[in-house]
């Protein structure tokens, strides 16, 4: 499969938004890629996110995914959220 690039919307919440200084941004991302590679792209843009290493998960199109080597298929305009540990309630 030939990788293609799409623009995806990244949303940052809670501590991740404090670390990046932004709440949302568009980034180009090749697809398919693994969630680990996607997280790597975010770390490249925002090295301070590394303090959340091992604690975050992502949400792709509103579905939680662990950060691992499973492939993620992203379409143009898809929404990906960085999800630090939850603390609702």
């Amino acid at each position: 499969m030939v990788p293609s690039f799409g623009e995806v919307s990244i949303l940052y919440f809670a501590k991740s938004a404090e670390l990046t200084g932004v709440k949302a941004e568009e980034i180009p991302a090749p697809t398919p890629l693994s969630s680990q590679q996607l997280w790597g792209l975010l770390l490249q843009r925002h090295p301070r996110l590394s303090v959340l290493q091992g604690q975050v998960v992502l949400a792709v199109r509103q579905q939680y995914i662990a950060i691992d080597d499973q492939p993620v298929t992203l379409g143009d305009g898809d929404e990906v959220a960085v999800v630090p540990p939850l603390s609702g309630g």
Binding site: L11, F13, A14, K15, E18, A59, Q62, A81, V83, P84, P85, L86, S87, G88, G89
Partner: protein, 148 residues
Amino acid sequence: MSDSEHRRDAFQLSRDWLSVQEVVDAVGSASCGAISVFIGTTREDELDGRKVTGLEYEAYEPMAQSEFTKLCADIRERWPTVAHICVHHRLGWVEVGQASVVMAISSPHRHDSQQAIQHCINQLKAKIPVWKKEVYDTQDGSWKENPE
């Protein structure tokens, strides 16, 4: 519950004071003998000598709604007699002593709504994308983390 009565799942994120009566009224049903309610409030607390003045909440709103829909399906599968489910959660600034979440579940008999309400708050804390930052009298704050 009669067939004509629809089961209601209501979720609301609100920047205003939460009304317990409103949440209870939302689950009222003539076929139900029991309503279980849980209210989570901001506790007076200290961390390293700093006093907590309140909590600042944020949510990934559309996903909070979709996770609530999944949670309701899960509750109805576990406790099929549950009639109505209503959860109101605060966003933004919540002062110490105020409710941050109010939830109510109705069922014909009490054991179902009692078990369902415990599952509901446990799963809300584990699955619904909401975060709180504890804010101190020193003006700084720290993001909290629910236990697994």
